[in-house]
Point group: C2
Chain length 363, copies 2
């Protein structure tokens, strides 16, 4: 293994790796962006240079993700966690909503929403420690303002692996840990949101893709910074946004457009994950995936070993071999390999080989 700039295989669950060409461009323009005489961090967000950057971020996001004209794109602060509250203030607002709870982030979305209205747990996978997800598992109510779900649960490594049905419901999706990792149909959603720090760029920005008719439903009298209508009317610049974060996101969008778009990205991620899942499946039960087979995440592979001693041995030896940040979350135990878009293919191949060898030596 030899990576440029002596970089390591960084399996961090987030903030995650960013592709080298994006980092290089950001670096090379740090003190003077394209001859403007100022760096991106030093530009007025209302000046002509940043206007161009902001317009490109919108354009590239639309192009990469196929965002139709009747959706607005917002780059907000506070991450997905503030969206838990903001979407409930805007759309739950004393009414009721359906939530599919399939992991730790879904738990947080539910508990935040309960402060602003009634939550119907249309599906709750807590009893099986969140190893399953599926739209068909939901027991939906008839008067829900919206249905909320978390496509990919970062900690459990459990993914719906598809868009919700076109059934007229207003689906709101936390797509933080799998957005832009495969093709998806924006038209199926009333709103999509995602913290940027896994697949889209650095932390500190939440991408929000929201359908126009949802914006029209926003009630009066919300705090302006928590009001989607205010954010849309001000082109997400009611106040100074995270200008650097959005700049990086624009570069990331462009990178994956040039890569071939989400079809190509999806194939790439399928193949990357297959190297690790194949090792697990070929280990005669030494490694076990937390998720049910139909919900295996392609971004976060949560897996366990036979016991705690072997887990510690695996973490120690894998780190010595150059594979970093493989420790799993305490709520699931074991290990987790987060392999977002920017994580290099070679790291997946090499980890798969390492895992097979470890299973053979220790199984």
């Amino acid at each position: 293994m030899s990576l440029p700039y002596n970089r390591i295989y960084n399996f961090s669950a987030g903030p995650g790796a960013i592709v080298v060409p994006v980092l290089e461009e950001a670096r090379d323009n740090m003190l003077n962006w394209k001859g403007s005489g100022v760096g991106v961090m030093e530009m007025s967000h209302r000046g002509k240079h940043y206007e161009k950057i902001a317009a490109e971020a919108d354009q590239y996001c639309r192009q990469l993700m196929g965002v139709p004209d009747n959706y607005k794109i917002l780059f907000l602060q506070g991450g997905a966690s503030l969206q838990f509250t903001m979407l409930a203030m805007n759309f739950l607002n004393g009414g009721s909503a359906d939530y599919l709870r399939t992991g730790t982030w879904g738990e947080k979305a539910v508990s935040s929403a309960k402060l602003h209205g009634a939550v119907n747990l249309a599906h709750d996978a807590k009893a099986s420690n969140y190893d399953v997800a599926g739209f068909e598992l939901g027991n939906y109510s008839n008067d829900a303002n919206y249905v909320h779900f978390t496509t990919n649960e970062t900690i459990q490594g459990v993914d719906f692996l598809g868009d919700p049905p076109a059934d007229g419901r207003d689906w709101i999706c936390d797509m933080s840990s799998c957005i832009a990792s495969r093709p998806f149909d924006v038209n199926r959603y009333a709103m999509i949101y995602a913290g940027a720090q896994k697949n889209l760029g650095p932390s500190g920005v939440a991408l929000v893709i929201i359908r126009d008719d949802m914006v029209a439903k926003v009630p009066e009298g919300l705090p302006p910074m928590l009001d989607y209508k205010v954010m849309v009317e001000n082109d997400w610049m009611y106040n100074t946004p995270n200008t650097w974060g959005v700049y990086l996101m624009s570069l990331v969008f462009k990178h994956w457009i040039d890569f071939g778009g989400l079809d190509a990205v999806g194939k790439y991620n399928d193949e990357k994950a297959s190297h690790i899942y194949s090792a697990i499946d070929g280990s005669n039960g030494f490694f076990k995936v937390h998720a049910q087979p139909q919900n295996r995440s392609l971004m976060n592979i949560s897996f366990t070993l036979p016991d705690e001693d072997l887990t510690q041995k695996f973490l120690t030896e894998s780190k010595a071999a150059g594979f970093h940040e493989l420790k799993g979350h305490r709520s699931v135990g074991g290990c987790r390999a987060s392999i977002y878009n920017a994580f290099p293919r070679e790291g997946c191949v090499e980890l798969g080989e390492f895992m097979l060898g470890f299973a053979q030596s220790n199984g």
Copy 2:
């Protein structure tokens, strides 16, 4: 004029200039921070590398600003604008508070607060288009939960130029556009907050310095992302913070510590501003400062010319001479020179000379 990296004199009101050595360090560590094998944007905020960065940000902030142990430091998202709402949710909360309204940002703070309780305008400088500020001008109530003011109004260029009295009131201050520009006594405040993008680093972070007894007053049941107690209990990492922004702030804090601390910074800024104010005062009334003499901001010098034609001519010729972003805000008109800590002294000297020459030729 010849600046490194062909940089220009950037009088942007915010995001503003960042000092060259900070940008260089950020650039040089972009793909691999100090041999860690990952860039700062790619690190888990809960990993050992970022823990060190976060601890240094806290430590350097305390050292530079003299923050006592009974105050917590938080690095939050959403800028000062979200603080307008957050502080009112936490501390106004259906009660009443005094506000000193001395400019555009104070207006926004007041209108955000009104959603959460009663606002007593203890002083309102709107009638004179916000040209004056002073603690002695306040008509304070006896049952205010706190007193809020904006030290330096960025648009009007009006500054209180000092700390509030030690009178037992809980003073809460928006210090966005003058924080760390001169010595100040944290002990005089119940809470200080500031958007980072003027004196402290890039946009996307609000620095909050809050006294322990205020945190104890936070009511139950607030949205977690808008609850100071939750933020304190989680060391501002309830969710993923703006990791890059805080890293840059840490470098900025350290830069000014090494410069000599806030005493030295204050003297430096006094001298920088004097070059421009001297030109104005020496122009026989050609240039006029918006602020009253006792409230002249050292960060944002808002000034007018005799008429609109001369204003346009000045903006055109000054830009051609290398002075950028001098257009004033429409609510005041005229011009504005924002000269935050990172704005170089030479630019102030040269602008002063240019202004005197322009006044002589056109007066």
